[in-house]
């Protein structure tokens, strides 16, 4: 550790010399450097002035978002594609509360974040001081853990623990609230010691129980209709190679959750497509018919399972998850395994299991795949949103990093963009946050400067965080913003059409800014495309450009995402299959 402080000396000399002494804020920066933090996403304010001053003297690259929500979504995008912990700083009160959506989003989708908030000085906490908010109380149910630093000498330990908790086990957001006087206080310990983490109440299990692994092997050998379901846990464990090896070795067909897309190549012959509310017919029927369901790192979310009574009714269920609390939460489990997905897959691979006699099953699934593919009805004029996604796939060859918000565009992107690689899909799955995709794309691009990053977003969601266009302008971050513009809140409108007799209550947005002019206002390239030919040309140009580009892609307004499992229905009751 490099910060050496002679605190006694500083104290003895007093006055001006004491100002030279190392303060909480310096220790803060030093601790971040010790954790290997590459960049910070943040926004300054009163309670974090000492921290920003220390940052000025001892810089770590800082991304100045234009709203705290933009900062934290960018950090989420960064964390999702890089696998590293995203770091966010905001001030007290409104700065901190503006982070709440992002913290909840990261909690739901298990993204490692360490969020630092300023707080009013300890002496006035609890007095409703200017810009005071009880952010520790507010974020208690939406963080993996949170802290308020009460003594500057605890700061290095707390920061180290925060990074450890955020990035290990099931990842998640950790918030550290730092009162202003703590960042100003003189650090009195002789040096910053990076001690071993001592958290007796936090010991995640990563190694699978071998007896349970053997049970899995036996179950696979007995099964006639086995199915693998792979979720985001496989991505967090960086285990897509192992997953691919496992399904190729065993021959078992595989489906994905929304967040698990990319664990397996989108065009792999054993891949049935995404399952769930807008999953493929083959994937959903495979879940209904299978006699063995092996879940790697998915949490059986309701958007995947549909009505639980009808979920995998014939299956023996194996659930491998690093979070014991997820096992048995929604779906009763026959063989529970608490483990890291990578370690579990490695243990299974060592056993060299083959699934014999399942040709009838795989042939049956393949014929469903062929007979009931994802489909839409082409039209003579205009652009269908599905066509736009297919065009983007064509021009990027399936190699791009794609981010989305929530809604129709998200589902179409999930259905039609076939990912070649893991960690290329950044979407708000659990919380379903509008305004997530665009800032997340900025974070993803900063993490992977050489990759093509496309933010596929709707016109509604883009208008929630479009102020971050400033970041593209400022640093020429070459994100490609593709607005699938249907001038409405597509999914809300679809549900109103389907379940509320076309009463389009507050879901149509005919009045909106000229997005091309908006791009120009930020000194960015902007295009509007209204036909397939135009889209083809502009997409090609944009994807080959090393500059940021915004494309207002006008798509058909009344177009629905199919197939669909209506809420409360089982996966076998799909609408719009053919």
């Amino acid at each position: 550790m490099s910060v050496q402080v002679n605190a006694k000396q500083a104290e003895a000399l007093g006055g001006d010399v004491q100002k030279q002494a190392v303060q909480g804020a310096d220790i803060f920066i030093q601790s971040l450097q010790n954790e290997g933090v590459e960049m910070i996403f943040g926004y300054p304010g009163g309670a974090v002035l000492p921290i920003y001053d220390a940052l000025y003297k001892n810089p770590i690259p800082h991304i100045l978002a234009r709203h705290e929500q933009g900062a934290i979504h960018a950090a989420e995008g960064y964390a999702r594609v890089s696998g590293k912990t995203g770091v966010v700083i905001a001030t007290s009160g409104p700065g901190a509360t503006n982070l709440v959506t992002g913290i909840a989003d990261a909690m739901m989708d298990s993204l490692p974040l360490v969020v630092f908030t300023g707080q009013v000085a300890s002496a006035v906490i609890g007095t409703d001081a200017f810009q005071e908010a009880d952010i520790v109380g507010i974020t208690q149910p939406i963080t993996k853990h949170n802290y308020q630093v009460k003594d500057v000498n605890d700061l290095p330990r707390i920061i180290h623990e925060a990074f450890h908790i955020a990035s290990t086990g099931r990842p998640g957001p950790v918030l550290v609230d730092i009162p202003k006087n703590v960042s100003n206080e003189v650090f009195t310990m002789a040096e910053v010691k990076q001690t071993e983490v001592n958290l007796p109440g936090y010991q995640p299990t990563t190694t699978p129980n071998f007896l349970q692994i053997q049970k899995v092997a036996q179950a696979i050998q007995k099964a006639e209709k086995p199915l693998v379901l792979a979720g985001a846990g496989v991505l967090h464990a960086k285990a897509s190679e192992e997953l691919t090896a496992f399904i190729e070795q065993t021959g078992i067909p595989v489906t994905n959750t929304l967040l698990g897309l990319g664990t397996i190549h989108g065009e792999h012959e054993q891949f049935l497509g995404m399952a769930g509310m807008h999953g493929t017919y083959a994937a959903n029927m495979a879940i209904c018919e299978c006699d063995l369901l092996i879940n790697f790192g998915a949490r059986f979310d309701d958007r995947l399972t549909g009505n639980l009574e009808h979920f995998a009714p014939n299956a023996q269920v194996i659930h491998i998850d690093i979070d014991p609390a997820e096992i048995g939460k929604n779906v009763p489990t026959d063989i529970p395994i608490v483990a890291d997905a990578k370690e579990a897959l490695q243990a299974l691979l060592k056993l060299g299991i083959k699934s014999d006699g399942i040709e009838k099953w795989t042939n049956h699934l393949n014929s469903m795949k062929e007979e009931y593919p994802l489909h839409y009805k082409k039209e003579e004029e205009g652009i269908l949103p599905q066509e736009a996604i297919e065009l983007l796939h064509k021009h990027t060859g399936g190699d791009a990093i794609v981010t989305t918000d929530v809604g129709q565009h998200q589902m179409w992107a999930a259905q039609y963009y076939k990912f070649n690689h893991p960690d290329h899909w950044v979407t708000s799955g659990g919380l379903g946050t509008m305004g997530f995709g665009f800032p997340a794309a900025i974070g993803a691009q900063l993490a992977k400067p050489k990759e093509t990053v496309i933010a596929i977003i709707g016109d509604g969601g883009f208008q929630m965080t479009l102020q971050e266009l400033s970041l593209l302008q400022e640093s020429q971050i070459p994100v490609k913003v593709v607005i699938l513009n249907n001038q409405c809140l597509g999914m809300v409108r679809q549900w109103q059409q389907t379940f509320y007799q076309e009463r389009y209550s507050q879901s149509l947005m005919p009045s909106q800014p000229d997005f091309v002019k908006l791009a120009e206002a930020y000194d960015l390239e902007g295009y509007k495309v209204t036909s397939l030919d135009e889209a083809d040309e502009i997409f090609e140009k944009a994807m080959n450009s090393n500059k940021p580009v915004l494309i207002d892609c006008r798509v058909k307004q009344i177009e629905n995402v199919y197939p669909m499992v209506a809420p409360g229905k089982g996966l076998h009751e799909m609408l719009g299959v053919k």
Partner: protein, 171 residues
């Protein structure tokens, strides 16, 4: 609905009670009572909850969610074990001189004590397992309870267990 007695050992950090009760609220568990206090180890506290859960699955979920908290060291469902449970209640009973001796005769078999007395009211302290406290309250209620406060149950596992208790499949 099953009534369960759950004990947790926690690190005594500020906010830990809030964290645990917040979790129970978020996951829609009903707490009947909760007690917290220091243990023999410095910095470690123990909480005892009495909760009502629908079924075994909900119970397992509750234990796992509690275990997941960073400040929670140990979680035990001790309902099926041989345990000692104690609760203390303070009750102000209306007791005009005419019925006073009648009330004292109820107090005696419960080994409750009178800790304060005024012209028409006596304050009684009763300790024991919650059922005993309940029974005592039922008996004095007809005389008129002016005010009552209860601590909620705290519990210990007995040193000698007669039967092995059921293990949950948490792994």
């Amino acid at each position: 609905m099953m009534k369960r007695v759950i004990t947790t050992t926690v690190i005594n950090q500020s906010g830990v009670l809030n964290r645990v009760t917040g979790l129970l609220m978020k996951r829609q568990f009903n707490i009947e009572s909760i007690t917290v206090g220091h243990t023999e180890q410095p910095g470690i506290s123990k909480m005892t909850f009495v909760v009502h859960v629908e079924d075994q699955r909900k119970l397992e979920q509750l234990l796992k969610q509690l275990q997941k908290q960073i400040d929670v060291l140990k979680v035990n469902d001790i309902s099926d074990k041989a345990i000692v449970t104690r609760e203390l209640a303070l009750i102000k009973v209306l007791s005009p001189p005419a019925v006073r001796s009648e009330i004292t005769s109820i107090i005696e078999p419960f080994r409750a004590t009178v800790i304060d007395m005024s012209k028409n009211v006596i304050t009684v302290q009763v300790t024991g397992d919650p059922e005993k406290v309940e029974a005592f309250i039922d008996l004095v209620r007809p005389y008129g309870i002016k005010e009552m406060t209860r601590t909620g149950a705290t519990a210990f596992v007995r040193e000698n267990q007669k039967t092995p208790s059921q293990q949950l499949s948490i792994l």
